[in-house]
Amino acid sequence: MSTRMQDKSEGHRMREQLEAIRQQAAGELQGLDNLEQVQEWRVRYLGKKGELTAVLRGMGGLSAAERPIIGAIANEVRANLEELLEAKTQGIKQREKERRLQSESIDVTLPGAVTMLGSKHPLTQVIDEIKAIFLGMGYQIAEGPEIESDYYNFEALNLPKDHPARDMQDSFYITPEILLRTHTSPVQIRTMERLKPTLPVKIICPGRVFRRDDDATHSPMFHQVEGLVVDKGITFGDLRGTLLAFVQQMFGADREIRLRPSFFPFTEPSAEVDISCVICSGSGCRVCKGSGWLEILGSGMVHPRVLEYGGYDSRELTGFAFGMGVERIAMLKYGIDDMRLLYDNDMRFLAQF
């Protein structure tokens, strides 16, 4: 009886001791707010020399019947404390992370790290756009030399020597027979010679051209894009439709075009093409000199003699050709008021495109 009493009181005492540890530890843990303290707490209660271990060491005095019961209680207390420890650790970590993130905030309005941005020249951008439009319509891009023979530049384009129309284009000469091309039209002949008798011929040719003019509105070097289509049954109406399609893609779907009779030795009939003014849409402004129209293209049906020079039969085939000044288009498109800016290559100018 007394033994039992004693037993009972020993077991009871240990049970109370364990409960007291659990409550004390849990209470202490609640007040902790950094990982070091938590670590100390863990050593104090759960460590090898901790209080819980110390209690368990006293289990030797327990009866065989009580030992497993007290053991189970002790494990439960340990598990409970470890759970609290885990939750506490997570909580502190979370708060520390939050504190760190808070302390790391930056001034998002400071400028970003500088990287260099290059740019294509505005003329190249316009040429690229023209190319894209005609590639989309099934054209190929052709090229030719900047230094040309009199034959390709004039003769084969129905401009024999002493033809008064040669006055329209004052040329830079290398020799009496070799010159800087005055237009991209020689590429018409070169392309036909290369492709004959393949049909259809559908090309555009961008490039540099040269004329002996140098003033506010003329540069001794400038750029043209030439176009040529040769096939069976090509009509003047097709020329009109093609140019309208181009103009509407280049300058906007509400552009209109107007054709005026004109003269080029290598086309017949020939036409100057005006577009409704990109600034005032036709009501009249300074840019269009009040007319509502802007001249941007020369065009026409390929002269039979030119087709023959190119190696195509002018009785079977017809074709149209057109040519435009890239500078003029760039100036209209970007609102540039001085042509010389395009060749001045001022970085402050180029950076705007």
Binding site: L110, P111, V114, T115, M116, G118, S119, K120, H121, T124, F134, G136, G138, Y139, Q140, P145, E146, I147, E148, S149, D162, P164, A165, F172, Y173, I174, T175, I178, L180, P200, K202, F210, R212, P220, M221, V229, D231, K232, G233, I234, T235, F236, G237, D238, G241, T242, A245, L259, R260, P261, F263, P265, E268, P269, M301, T318, Y343, N345, M347, L350
Partner: protein, 833 residues
């Protein structure tokens, strides 16, 4: 060409306003550049009569005039010294705002109020070149016929609008008022009225018969007194002449003077004015000789002898050559055909008999001569463009008509006309279907025929129904119409260009795509832009002095240039053989405007003159190049403080480019041989292909002398690559290799090397010794300075070891790594710590 509306109206009663007519003409192919209203600013300027004029009591140089202006007398003070009592003068009354912007208000001149201003020709806005030199200064004195009080614009004929035509070279027929009238008639369908021509009852030759005295001074008929010989028929197709006697020189009537002035010509005297008038009216230049100065009355049309001398009307003595056509008498040249008359045969106050020439000269010959003597007159311009050979007699007879009508002289009967090979009117066959096929229209034959007939052509149908095909006979004043295409254009412009339907080509679908070289070029541009460079476009020609500035020695390859024979200035002297000078110029221009940090590139051609022959027979070689230049420093910010651009910045751009184009095997070879580059900081890029070494381009720091020559701050680096070679070497995509299946191992090595050993040698040893085990390597540090012995530098590489069939063991990697170190020690003198 300028045409006043009243002159045009004389031949065609179109009943349109100048603006409407201008629009109609422009839309049908005769471009009207301007409708000139010459009376702008002449409101409240009237004709006044000077009743009295006296000196200003208080000012020496001023005159006080009492002027009748139709509304009573007005007092006007003037400073002009040429006004006399009885003169009729232009009076600007208060309210006038003159063409020069001057507004007229009453002004007090030292106590005398002046109610207006007397005007000079300039103040009225008259074109000085149409005014006699004597009338250019002082107040313009009006003709006695001017009506007092009427607007001065009416008195001077300025109230009529003038059309300014911008003629295309094919329509030089419209350098004649009559032919513009024909065009107006065709457009408006108003009838055409031809001008009157001389038809004297006795206008024929006496043939030495009755009335022919045989006395040279007794002019019975032209044929008897004038002989014409054409020696050089290739340059002169027709020559005709008429005589006028009893010349009574004087001013021409006001209406004629005003028409000449409206066309921009200056009235001179009645005889000259008539020839100019007929030239403007019919397009035929005419020339008047003093008949008595022509030896034996004989005209010879011939080439000049080399060195032959002629004093022309402007008093200049000109030395001629066989390329010039002259009009001569048996003794001497008397005129430069079609370009300018001779001084000795000029019509003067003493001239009694005039020989009037009308001729056709070879346009090319006139063009050359006019250029040679530097003179392009209204007459030579018309000859250059070709006058109508078939209306030469019309021009002579029209002149005779005016000479008689205005009483300038007596018309001598008959004319002489040498015309050996008469031209034939052109006939052009056509098919209605073909013309519609070309235009994309559906115009019927009858309508086409109607258009052509309105333009003065004759249509003959060759099919019985008369609507499918035929022949058009073209009048001689339309030499531009030679083929069916030309007839089609006439149809199109009268049908209206804007009435032609809008269609698209109907043929087979075609693929629009770039060629490989075009794709590569596009990519080059993109990589350069992505590398932060801005594209520039500069001229293909340069000033030859750039070659000196580049420091090129006498016989340098780049001095084999193609020269322009007729540049506007030295700036277009030669075609560039290298793009560098253009880029240096851009850099200089920008840095003079305080932009000193520059990264630019250009894709353009360079040109090389072949070693021989001179002059060029074939087109010179033209190669596309990609050139670039960096100067100053990359953009700096608060996070980056980059140093100035150097060689390696630009090298990185090239490396990026080569990587992008999948080009391998490029060798960077140090060179001191390019005169424009720093000899220690330049490299040639070469590629071995099929046993040949090809030069891809160069890169380097610009030589300090060159930098100085272009006045550049800093030390620019530049490059130039050959685009054709890049295109040839470039591949669209690389060769695929399976990804490694086994892990790799990285090992570093740092070595001390004599600084003369280039990195490429180190890498060659690594590659050769490492073999297939070394997958790649990277130089991650380079150090020279403290703790490194002089003459040495330290290089540190990371090597990646990798085998495709197994995971390499530490031992394998260590062995390979040590082997490489040993090889480096042995072969390039590397020292490892």
């Amino acid at each position: 060409m300028r045409i006043s509306m009243d002159w045009l109206g004389e031949y065609v009663a179109h009943e349109m306003t100048a603006t409407d007519l201008a629009e109609k003409l422009t839309r049908s192919g005769i471009a009207v550049e301007n409708v000139i209203c010459r009376d702008r600013g002449l409101d409240h300027v009237v004709v006044g009569l000077v009743q009295r004029i006296e000196k200003h009591p208080a000012a020496d140089k001023l005159w006080v005039c009492q002027i009748e202006t139709g509304n009573g007398e007005t007092t006007i003070v003037t400073g002009a010294q040429n006004v006399r009592q009885g003169h009729k003068v232009p009076v600007a009354l208060p309210g006038a705002c003159l063409p020069n912007g001057l507004t007229i208000t009453p002004v007090d001149f030292r106590g005398i109020p002046s109610a207006g201003m007397l005007c000079s020709a300039q103040e009225l806005g008259l074109d000085e070149k149409t005014i006699a030199p004597a009338d250019r200064d002082g107040i313009l004195i009006l003709s006695d016929a001017a009506v007092i009080g009427k607007p001065v614009a009416a008195a001077l004929g300025l109230d009529v609008p003038v059309l300014e035509l911008e003629l295309t070279p094919n329509r030089s027929d419209c350098l004649a008022v009559l032919n513009v009238a024909r065009e107006v008639a065709a457009i408006t369908e108003a009838p055409l009225q031809l001008p009157k021509q001389y038809a004297g009852a006795d206008d024929q030759c006496c043939n030495g018969g009755d009335g022919c005295t045989g006395n040279k001074d007794d002019l019975c008929c032209t044929q008897d007194r004038v002989r014409i010989t054409i020696n050089d028929g290739d340059l002169c197709g027709r020559y005709a002449a008429r005589l006028f006697t009893n010349l009574r020189l004087g001013p021409s009537p006001v209406w004629m003077q005003q028409r000449l002035q409206s066309a921009g010509m200056r009235p001179i005297n009645n005889m000259v004015d008539i020839t100019n008038y007929v030239m403007l009216e019919l397009g035929h230049p005419l020339h008047a000789f003093d008949y008595h100065t022509i030896a034996q009355g004989e005209i010879i049309v011939r080439r000049a002898q080399d060195g032959e001398v002629l004093t022309t009307l402007d008093g200049q003595e000109r030395t001629l050559n066989a390329g010039n056509l002259v009009i001569a008498d048996p003794e001497k040249a008397i005129a430069l055909a079609g370009v300018m008359g001779g001084l000795a045969t000029e019509v003067t106050d003493n001239t009694k008999v005039v020989l009037l020439e009308a001729a056709h000269f070879n346009p090319a010959s006139i063009r050359r001569t006019a250029r040679q003597v530097g003179l392009r007159s209204e007459a030579s311009q018309r000859f250059e463009k070709g006058v109508n050979v078939d209306t030469i007699l019309f021009a002579l007879d029209r002149t005779a008509q005016l000479v008689e009508e205005l009483g300038v002289a007596d018309v001598v009967p008959g004319y002489v006309d040498v015309y050996e090979r008469p031209s034939k009117a052109a006939s052009v066959a056509f098919s209605v279907e073909r013309i519609n096929g070309l235009l994309g229209t559906n115009v019927d034959g009858a309508t086409m025929a109607h258009y052509w007939q309105r333009l003065g052509m004759t249509v003959t149908w060759s099919d019985p129904e008369g609507n499918a095909q035929g022949v058009v006979e073209v009048p001689t004043y339309r030499p531009d119409i030679t083929g069916e295409h030309d007839l089609a254009e006439e149809v199109a412009r009268l049908y209206g260009y804007d009435n032609i339907p809008t269609t698209l080509p109907q043929g087979a679908t075609t693929v629009g795509q770039r060629t490989w070289p075009q794709l590569v070029q596009e990519r080059l541009g993109e990589v350069m832009v992505a590398s932060g460079l801005r594209e520039v476009i500069t001229f293909s020609f340069i000033n030859p002095r750039h070659l000196d500035r580049l420091g090129l020695p006498e016989n340098h390859r780049l001095r084999q240039v193609v020269a322009v024979t007729n540049p506007l200035s030295e700036e277009q002297g030669i075609m560039r053989s290298i793009i560098l000078p253009n880029l240096l110029e851009v850099a200089a221009r920008n840095s003079s405007r305080r932009t000193t940090d520059i990264g630019i590139f250009e894709l353009g051609s360079v040109f090389a003159h072949p070693a021989s022959p001179e002059p060029l027979k074939e087109l010179p070689e033209e190669r596309k190049k990609l050139a670039a230049l960096l100067m100053g420093q990359p953009a700096a910010g608060w996070r980056q403080k980059p140093g100035p651009y150097d060689f390696y910045d630009l090298k990185a751009v090239i490396e990026k480019l080569l990587a992008c184009l999948k080009i391998n095997g490029v060798t960077w070879q140090a060179t001191g041989a390019l005169p424009y580059l720093h000899p220690g900081r330049a490299a040639l890029l070469t590629v071995e292909q099929d046993g040949a070494t090809m030069e891809l381009g160069w890169i380097g720091e610009v030589h300090p002398d060159v930098t100085e020559a272009y006045d550049l701050p800093g030390r620019p680096v530049a490059m130039e690559l050959d685009v054709q070679l890049l295109t040839m070497l470039a591949r669209a995509f690389g060769e695929y290799k399976a990804l490694p299946r086994f892990p790799s191992t990285d090992r570093d090595m740092a070595m001390l090397l004599p600084e003369t050993v280039p990195a490429s040698q180190v890498e060659a040893v690594i590659a050769a010794t490492g073999g297939t085990l070394v997958d790649r390597w990277r130089l991650f540090d380079l150090y020279q300075g403290a703790q490194i012995p002089a003459g040495y530098r330290s290089l540190a590489y990371t090597l990646r070891y990798q085998a495709s069939d197994r995971t390499l063991t530490d031992d394998e990697v260590n062995q390979a790594h040590e082997a490489i170190k040993a090889a480096l020690t042995a072969q390039v003198g590397a020292r490892f710590r």
